[in-house]
């Protein structure tokens, strides 16, 4: 076991897979000479040279498409977006090409590509830089989407993403890059599509992923002081979704609150709520609640931004609401 940062875990996964497999290469804006906008790719240009670590011109649609073209004929590209917000410019390559090539070609082609980068809010970067893009991508058949919260998961899921023969989208977080955590020396790939119960509890299930897992844990610790034991399910994978782990937890707690960044309309939270009401209906003691970003474009002003984002106090309030239902 070693304690390393989230960004180091991601980097180790990429380096180890690139050492093992010569077909893996990395490209994106500022990933080489600059060592990555957030230092995730530090040292990789020096290690692998400019043919396997490419600094691209500013053209997201362009380099995403170049990645797709390379992936169809034997390479395994890792494409970094400086933030997932900029993937909007490459949306057509991901939605209409990477996701569909295998199916539309009758299985003749595959697209083993990883798209990765920081997602959702950072701090005071305005609405156009703060989108939680996983909600858009997780709706698309043909794509897999992961959103790790801890360094060990970041490493294991990144390895699995690189080895997978489908397009996999890795949603990181600028606010998690410096977070430290224990990572086993021999951390191998973690199976995609598996959630993790990161805190056991019996009174309410909190479902979260990425940075919101940490917010849910904070809320759970505060709730424990008031005698409410929350179970925290860290999804890790958003598609495929581990409905078994979610439903098993709700069968135990009878209540469910989902916490995620991004708008409340549709999205991963709505998807989880659908599974819970269908598969754990008879067990539920309260409606499933969601704590999400407010339904407005993210403001720049720090106070307004904090008011928009899901915070532990909103999670605590939602948990209390479902726990006290029928008791008051």
């Amino acid at each position: 076991m070693r304690e390393i940062r989230y960004r180091e875990a991601l980097r180790e996964a990429m380096i180890e897979e690139m050492e093992k497999d010569a077909s893996v290469f990395l490209m994106g804006e500022e990933v080489g000479h600059y060592q990555g906008a957030y230092k995730v790719t530090e040292g990789m240009l020096e290690k692998f040279g400019p043919e396997r670590v490419l600094d691209t011109p500013i053209a997201e649609a362009g380099f995403a498409g170049i990645g797709v073209g390379a992936a169809m004929v034997g390479l395994r590209p890792i494409v970094e977006f400086m933030t997932w917000n900029f993937s909007a410019i490459a949306f057509d390559q991901i939605l209409n090409n990477a996701a569909k090539i295998r199916q539309m070609s009758g299985g003749q082609f595959s697209c083993p590509i990883v798209f990765r980068g920081p997602n959702a809010s950072a701090r005071q970067v305005g609405s156009q830089h703060s989108h939680a893009m996983e909600h858009f991508y997780a709706t698309v058949p043909g794509l897999k989407v992961v959103a790790p919260a801890f360094p060990a998961d970041a490493k294991g899921l990144m390895k699995a993403a690189i080895r997978d023969n489908n397009p996999v989208l890795v949603m990181e977080s600028e606010t998690l890059y410096s977070v430290k955590g224990q990572v086993p020396d021999d951390q191998d790939a973690i199976e995609l599509g598996k959630a993790n119960v990161v805190r056991p509890g019996k009174d309410v299930t909190l479902v979260a992923y990425s940075r919101m897992t940490h917010v849910a844990l904070d809320a759970a610790n505060a709730l424990a002081k008031e005698g409410i034991e929350a179970e925290v399910v860290d999804l890790r994978s958003l598609r495929p979704l581990d409905e078994e782990t979610i439903v098993k937890s709700v069968w135990k707690t009878h209540r469910c609150v989902i916490v995620h960044e991004g708008f409340p309309y549709g999205g991963v939270g709505a998807e989880v709520a659908d599974r819970v009401q269908r598969l754990a209906f008879d067990s539920l003691d309260a409606p499933v609640l969601r704590v999400a970003t407010l339904d407005v474009p993210m403001p720049y002003n720090a106070k307004l931004e904090q008011a928009c984002m899901p915070q532990a106090d909103r999670v605590i309030a939602a948990a209390k609401r479902v726990v006290s239902r029928g008791k008051a």
Partner: protein, 367 residues
């Protein structure tokens, strides 16, 4: 045609090394004096904003130090009702066109003194009163929007034109090529200006494009293009004025590459010493656009050291005073979050607004 004579490969200059000017170009005294005042003020303003960012009083700022001649020269060459679509480094066009300095600075603070209500990132100013539209944080869209606005002016038979800015890195985006293509096909009354400041964060222009110059790209789109010394206020002014006149006269779009240099960091989150040498920066400091204009004004008999020092003191006071006023505005109210998402406040936002009002602000939210 020799390279020097090619509009796309050569470099159009007006100011000479001995501080005189090419007599073929005339720029009135009032324009050069105003330009100098605006450039000096902008430099003081940028330095102040960077300082405030370091002190943690503002979150972000994109300075244009070393590139002032481009936005200021452009602003002075336009008519009041022309439309302006800046990229990161041309917010100051609106200041020249009458936007109040305190409101400009309040935008950087993102508080209730900001006409954008604290919603947009700093250095993404927009001002309806001066026909300036905020760029998008994603690089490129404003170039096409400028062409679209120009098309609207043409259809509505208005005499206004549109000006769109971009950095050299932005010319790699599809949006640039779509905009140039549309502008060429539909002869939109537009001026597109690329500030080639040699760097896109850490990527040098040579790694952004293999073209000999950026202006040469215009040839393929049949958009008349030229390459201009972007640190030469007189050259920028003259080139933009001619392009704007052409656009107004129905001759379509001109593309102008302004050769300049970003003296400071890319933004307040960048450390340029990691990718470029001090010698390179120093060599460009010797071509500083403010210094060059100052020397020209002295040569022309319009400025002396005493006047210059008085101007510096006056502008410093103006900026400091404006910062004081702008910083004092409180944050916008929490309830304001739901305004302007739609024209009307729909029931579902009304509901969320009431829910928020019922919840006491958490310590992290403030009032």
């Amino acid at each position: 045609m020799s390279v020097e004579n090619s509009r796309e490969l050569g470099l159009f200059r007006v100011l000479r090394d001995d501080h005189s000017q090419d007599p073929a170009v005339s720029v009135p005294d009032a324009v050069v004096l105003r330009a100098y005042r605006e450039m000096r003020r902008l430099r003081i303003l940028d330095a102040k904003m960077i300082l405030l960012q370091r002190q943690g009083r503002v979150g972000f700022y994109g300075a244009c130090t070393g590139q002032e001649a481009v936005p200021i020269g452009t602003a002075l060459a336009l008519e009041a009702d022309d439309w302006v679509y800046p990229a990161l480094r041309e917010q100051s066009v609106m200041l020249v066109r009458g936007f109040p300095l305190t409101q400009f600075i309040a935008q950087v603070f993102g508080n209730s003194g900001d006409v954008q209500k604290g919603r947009q990132m700093p250095s993404h100013h927009s001002g309806r009163s001066v026909n300036q539209v905020s760029w998008s944080s994603n690089i490129g869209p404003q170039i096409m929007q400028a062409v679209g606005t120009a098309w609207a002016m043409k259809l509505q038979k208005k005499s206004s034109i549109a000006v769109g800015f971009m950095g050299d890195g932005a010319t790699s985006q599809g949006d640039f090529h779509s905009a140039m293509n549309f502008a060429g096909v539909f002869k939109t009354p537009c001026v597109l200006i690329c500030q080639n400041n040699h760097w896109s964060i850490s990527v040098p222009t040579a790694k952004q494009t293999a073209s000999a110059t950026i202006a040469i790209k215009g040839l393929a789109y049949a958009v008349p293009s030229c390459r201009v010394d972007g640190n030469d206020l007189l050259a920028v002014y003259a080139a933009v004025k001619e392009a704007a006149d052409d656009a107004r006269a129905g001759k379509g779009t001109t593309f102008i590459e302004c050769l300049t240099y970003r003296i400071g960091a890319h933004s307040t989150s960048d450390d340029p010493s990691r990718y470029r040498t001090d010698e390179e920066v120093e060599s460009w400091k010797r071509k500083d656009p403010v210094d060059r204009l100052r020397n020209h004004l002295v040569h022309r008999g319009l400025l002396d050291d005493a006047k210059d020092a008085a101007l510096e003191a006056e502008l410093t006071d103006e900026v400091n005073e404006a910062v004081k006023v702008a910083e004092a505005f409180p944050a916008p109210s929490r309830e304001s979050l739901f305004d302007d998402v739609y024209q009307e406040l729909p029931w579902f936002l009304q509901e969320q607004k009431e829910e928020l009002r019922r919840a006491p602000p958490a310590p992290s939210h403030g009032g």
